[in-house]
């Protein structure tokens, strides 16, 4: 009976593999990566042109804006030392003096960022709390923000975090725009000197899931922080997928041949759904070997820098938010 089971499983596996699309040839793989870049560019353009992202960009650029966040010199979003209760009120952007005037009382922070447009825009912070993490910096523990256009909600954000051992333990983030929703979760566990970390991120436009990411990591703990041991990657980007594992603990960051150490302990693959494998993601030295960068290795073993096909990634790295 047991041997029958083996035979059945053999045929099931055979069927599975025979139905799985194989590796693409280089020409198709390059075309597929260009399609992915195009999807990302369109997505980025569409998002950056939305009213809510324009308002965010404006407020983040202005360090004096009465919001808990600002864009730091590295273009990352940082958290201010911000006291919600002390900042409550209605603020209007004074374009002449380039500042936000406090014009009234409120139990929320209501910002009117544009007095010249056809529509009345309101950026409303109804909750913000933070706590210090081990580095001494403030970390948000609860945030509720809403944007309204002529009294109709066009965007909202709900965020809740728990801290433990001076670090984030659990984060839930929900964002909702006119036609999209974004959800992200972070969960860190600890058992003695080891633990796990899981991170999920999804972006749905209307009824379609455009981005769906799940990272599952095992971690070790040090006095002040944690470090990664293994990373399991499952990411859907439009019609593409990135899957793989990185045995981070085994990678020697000071090795003379670091790229060899990295590549021998990481297996990351790029796929296009239903069409097959585009290639492997590996680390290689650039032309003068002074710098390392990520490359795609195609079926014929030739390699090309990912940035050549996905320049949008470089732009995203520069934006950093």
């Amino acid at each position: 009976m047991r041997s029958h089971n083996h035979i059945i499983w053999y045929f099931v596996l055979l069927l599975f593999y025979s139905c799985t699309p194989g590796s693409m040839n280089k020409e198709d793989a390059e075309r597929s990566l260009k399609v992915l870049n195009s999807d990302l560019v369109n997505f980025g353009n569409r998002m950056s042109e939305s009213t809510e992202m324009k308002v965010w960009a404006f407020l983040l650029e202005n360090r004096e804006a009465p919001i808990p966040f600002y864009k730091n010199s590295n273009s990352f979003i940082s958290v201010k030392n911000f006291h919600f209760d002390e900042m409550k009120g209605i603020y209007k952007w004074n374009s002449l003096d380039k500042k936000f005037d406090l014009t009234g009382h409120s139990e929320q922070i209501i910002i009117l960022p544009d007095s010249t447009g056809k529509h009345l825009l309101q950026f409303i912070v109804s909750d913000f709390n933070s706590a210090k993490v081990s580095s001494g910096e403030a970390f948000p523990t609860s945030v509720k923000i809403q944007m309204k256009e002529d009294d109709h909600e066009i965007w909202k954000l709900d965020y809740l975090a728990e801290l433990a051992d001076g670090m984030p333990k659990k984060i839930e983030l929900k964002m909702k725009g006119k036609e999209y929703t974004m959800n992200s979760n972070y969960l860190r566990t600890k058992s003695g000197e080891n633990g796990t970390l899981s991170l999920t991120f999804s972006f749905n436009h209307l009824m379609k899931t455009l981005i769906d990411t799940r990272l599952d990591c095992t971690i070790g703990y040090s006095r002040q922080s944690y470090f990664l041991k293994t990373i399991d990657i499952n990411q859907q980007l439009f019609d593409h997928e990135i899957k793989g594992e990185v045995d981070y603990a085994s990678i020697d960051p000071t090795a003379e041949d670091y790229t060899a150490s990295f590549n021998s302990h990481s297996k990351v693959f790029l796929f296009e759904k239903r069409k097959g494998r585009i290639g492997d993601v590996i680390l290689e030295g650039t032309e003068n070997n002074e710098l390392n960068d990520f490359f795609v290795r195609f079926k014929d073993k030739s390699t090309k820098q990912i940035g050549e096909f996905l320049p949008v990634f470089d732009k995203l790295m520069n934006l950093k938010y």
């Binding site: 010199s73 910096e137 006095r223 922080s225 000071t254 390392n292």
Partner: protein, 200 residues
């Protein structure tokens, strides 16, 4: 106080006390290194309260200490040997991945690298005294100067650092002498050590 400057000063102090693992053949006996329990280093920078790092335990060279800075205590652990100092700031405290901060017998041009993904932090010996020529408190001492270059986007802990270069000065007897920190906005802060009991 400007939070960026605080971050820079704090980063410098954390880095200078972020001692880590050593090579097996190096002596880690605290009686023969700077890692004796109770050893402290005081440092300061113009416009800031002074910071002090004190070693509270040493287990075969594994050092645990406390950095007190701006009224807050920060726990720091690591390892120090007779031949050098290593840190694991960039490995988030993973003791299996030490990064050489200084070797007291290093020569100009010696270089150490630490890779994180496609980013590479480098530390290179850029100057070595041949005579006592660097001020330390009331003395002049010899130093090994190590230039650390941090590429943009390098994460330190959960945050991207706001520092792009640090020139460290170390002395084989007193340990940390100074760190000149260049931030990403090109401003600099010099953190100077002014006293320690490590050489007593």
């Amino acid at each position: 106080m400007n939070s960026k400057l605080k971050t820079a000063l704090f980063s410098a102090l954390i880095l200078f006390v972020g001692f880590a693992c050593s090579e097996d053949d190096e002596i880690t006996d605290p009686e023969q290194t700077m890692g004796k329990v109770g050893n402290y280093w005081n440092a300061g920078a113009p416009g800031y309260q002074d910071g002090r790092f004190t070693i509270s335990s040493n287990d075969n060279g594994n050092v645990v200490g406390t950095l007190v800075f701006q009224g807050t205590s920060y726990p720091v652990e690591g390892k120090i040997t007779d031949q050098g100092i290593y840190d694991y700031v960039y490995s988030n405290g993973d003791k299996s991945k030490p990064f050489t901060l200084v070797k007291f017998d290093a020569n100009v041009g010696d270089k150490w690298e630490f890779n994180v993904g496609n980013q590479k932090v480098t530390r290179e010996v850029v100057r070595k005294s041949t005579e006592d020529d660097v001020e330390y408190g009331f003395w002049l001492v010899k130093t090994v100067d190590v230039e650390e270059t941090i590429p943009a986007g390098t994460m330190v802990g959960d945050n991207e650092g706001e520092v792009k270069k640090i020139v460290w000065q170390f002395n084989h007897k007193f340990g940390f002498i100074s760190a000149t920190v260049t931030k990403t906005d090109n401003t600099t802060v010099k953190v100077s050590g002014y006293s320690t009991n490590a050489a007593d």
